[in-house]
Symmetry: C2
Subunit: 332 residues, 2 copies
């Protein structure tokens, strides 16, 4: 701000930051000049001095995936309200890009980060001397985290498919390295076992978290001799791919084949889709994560304090056989 005006820089700073100790008249005068000049404070200079940037870093795999888009959206809503902004980094599920992006965020001296890590990078994140919140995963109490009880989600799916009377379940996952996916499979398998249904390795497939991947996997599974009669999918995109293949190949859903997704992306509820799925409260994930980060930012004790495990929920729709009984239906 041009100091061509008759006050010192200190006074300007005090005024513009609403600090006390400025004569109301001076304050008003400065404010007017600032407005007239369209003054915009240089946040970099401020950051240099204060070691605060008002920016939080968000590392997510893929924002074209509505699941992450909604999380990002919820995070932003919360942090905007607190005067923060975010730099969103997407990794495309690529570890190297993720590492690179992380460095960039650090170079930008973000106040904190919210991230969905690839497993390989967990240690790297753990050692970061910065406020952070991890989304999903690992029950690693070195972090603040917000996660979904994926194992329970798997159990819920197993119960439901079994209740529906399906006999030959299959699991179609995304990335095999994904911890959340493994947990879903684990819960699925263990609950099936309790119900005396075996989930053989031949009916477990991994691909990616995409429509195409689901389409591919189900095509392979139905080529085998022991055909599954139902599919628990790692996410809704995969399930949509499965449904697409089933529809194209004239498999009757839900009677000839049941499909359960994971996430409850918003279009899963459309009348034309009506996908039975395990809902993750995406908005809550993002909102809680943001709140946790802001709490960490305002807390000088660096030890993690937030460990939130959110419960998934069965949303029974039309891609599995309707049960008359006690299930939770979409419209109770």
């Amino acid at each position: 701000m041009a100091e061509a005006w008759g006050v010192s820089y200190a006074t300007v700073s005090r005024t513009l930051n609403g600090r006390s100790g400025v004569d109301p008249k001076t304050r008003e005068k400065v404010q007017r000049v600032a407005d007239r000049l369209g003054y915009s404070p240089n946040l970099h200079a401020r950051s240099l001095k204060t070691n605060q940037t008002g920016i939080i870093g968000l590392i997510l795999p893929d924002i074209s995936n509505p699941f992450f888009a909604d999380i990002a959206s919820a995070v932003n809503k919360v942090i905007y309200a607190q005067g923060y902004n975010s730099i969103l980094c997407t990794t495309g599920w690529d570890v190297e890009i993720e590492e690179k992006q992380l460095s960039v965020l650090l170079d930008h001296r973000v106040d904190g980060i919210i991230f969905k890590p690839s497993p390989e990078l967990t240690e790297r994140y753990a050692n970061l001397p910065i406020a952070k919140v991890m989304i999903s995963n690992a029950q690693d109490r070195r972090f603040n985290f917000v996660e979904i009880d994926n194992r329970e989600g798997g159990r819920i799916a197993a119960d439901h498919l079994s209740d529906c009377g399906y006999q030959a379940p299959a699991f179609i996952g995304g990335d095999e390295d994904s911890r959340s996916n493994r947990d879903r499979l684990r819960g699925f398998r263990e609950r099936l076992k309790e119900r005396r249904i075996e989930l053989s390795d031949k009916t477990v497939r991994f691909g990616g978290f995409s429509i195409e991947s689901g389409y591919q996997s189900v095509s392979t599974l139905l080529d085998q001799s022991d055909r599954p009669d139902c599919f628990f999918c790692g996410n809704d995109l995969i399930a949509l791919g499965v449904l697409q293949f089933l529809s194209e190949n004239r498999y009757a859903v839900p009677n000839a084949a049941g499909v359960v997704g994971f996430d409850d992306v918003y279009f899963s509820s459309l009348p034309q889709i009506q996908l039975t799925t395990i809902r993750q409260p995406r908005h809550e994930i993002g909102a809680y994560a943001a709140q946790a980060l802001i709490a960490a930012l305002e807390n000088d004790d660096p030890r993690p304090t937030t460990h939130i495990t959110l419960q998934p929920q069965l949303i029974a729709r039309n891609t599995t056989i309707r049960q008359s009984s006690k299930q939770s239906q979409e419209t109770p």
Copy 2:
């Protein structure tokens, strides 16, 4: 970087930025120390000096909308590759928030911005002394812009619905203030007129760009005495809302009612949806915008040079009556 090591800051700077004029031995030594210390350059300090931040601002209405999510995704992909990062700001279609976010970006001294403006703020953007690319809209040659020929999109829809034999078209738009929406309506109406079909004001409705809005609007339209037999919707979300209502109320699509969307969001192609729509090349929009911005950044002449108008395309699927003839079908 602690200067506890026997070289001057200048040498460190030269080394780390790959400037010439450093003895290879010194260079290596410095590099090693930097690596060992996990040195992370303070980008704010650098920015203060260089007036460059390597950050570009992205202002979009709503990232939960897959249309904008895909644009953001494409933008990021391109700018990452050039060593830039982005701050993504979402406005929730709220002008005040948009203005606020814009100020924040300016305070952060972003190198440039890519934005989808609300009409009220266009002047504000125009006066910004910063590299910028506008997405969609206004044919305003004061800007670099990447836009869709919305009017042509409306004409295409009119041609198609008319070819299908529908007689009583309706238009269900999003925000009435949206220029792109008005252009679609304009093209729609003018082409209908050429074909001797009148689009009365009673069959034109606006709401928002959401499923709920489409659902509401169609319900009102079908309550009227002159019932439309087909709907051209401002975007695919609206169309999905329309389809939902139609499905719940047992209107047979496409025979009793035709529906055309706009955007071709990826789930519109699902077997269960098969929405006829006017495709916008979302990825191209984002990619071109990013390229244009980078070009502007590297060009010291501030005058806008990029004016790209992308053509929408009819994707005929199952929510309109199939034509045997010359239409462009999804799978030719």
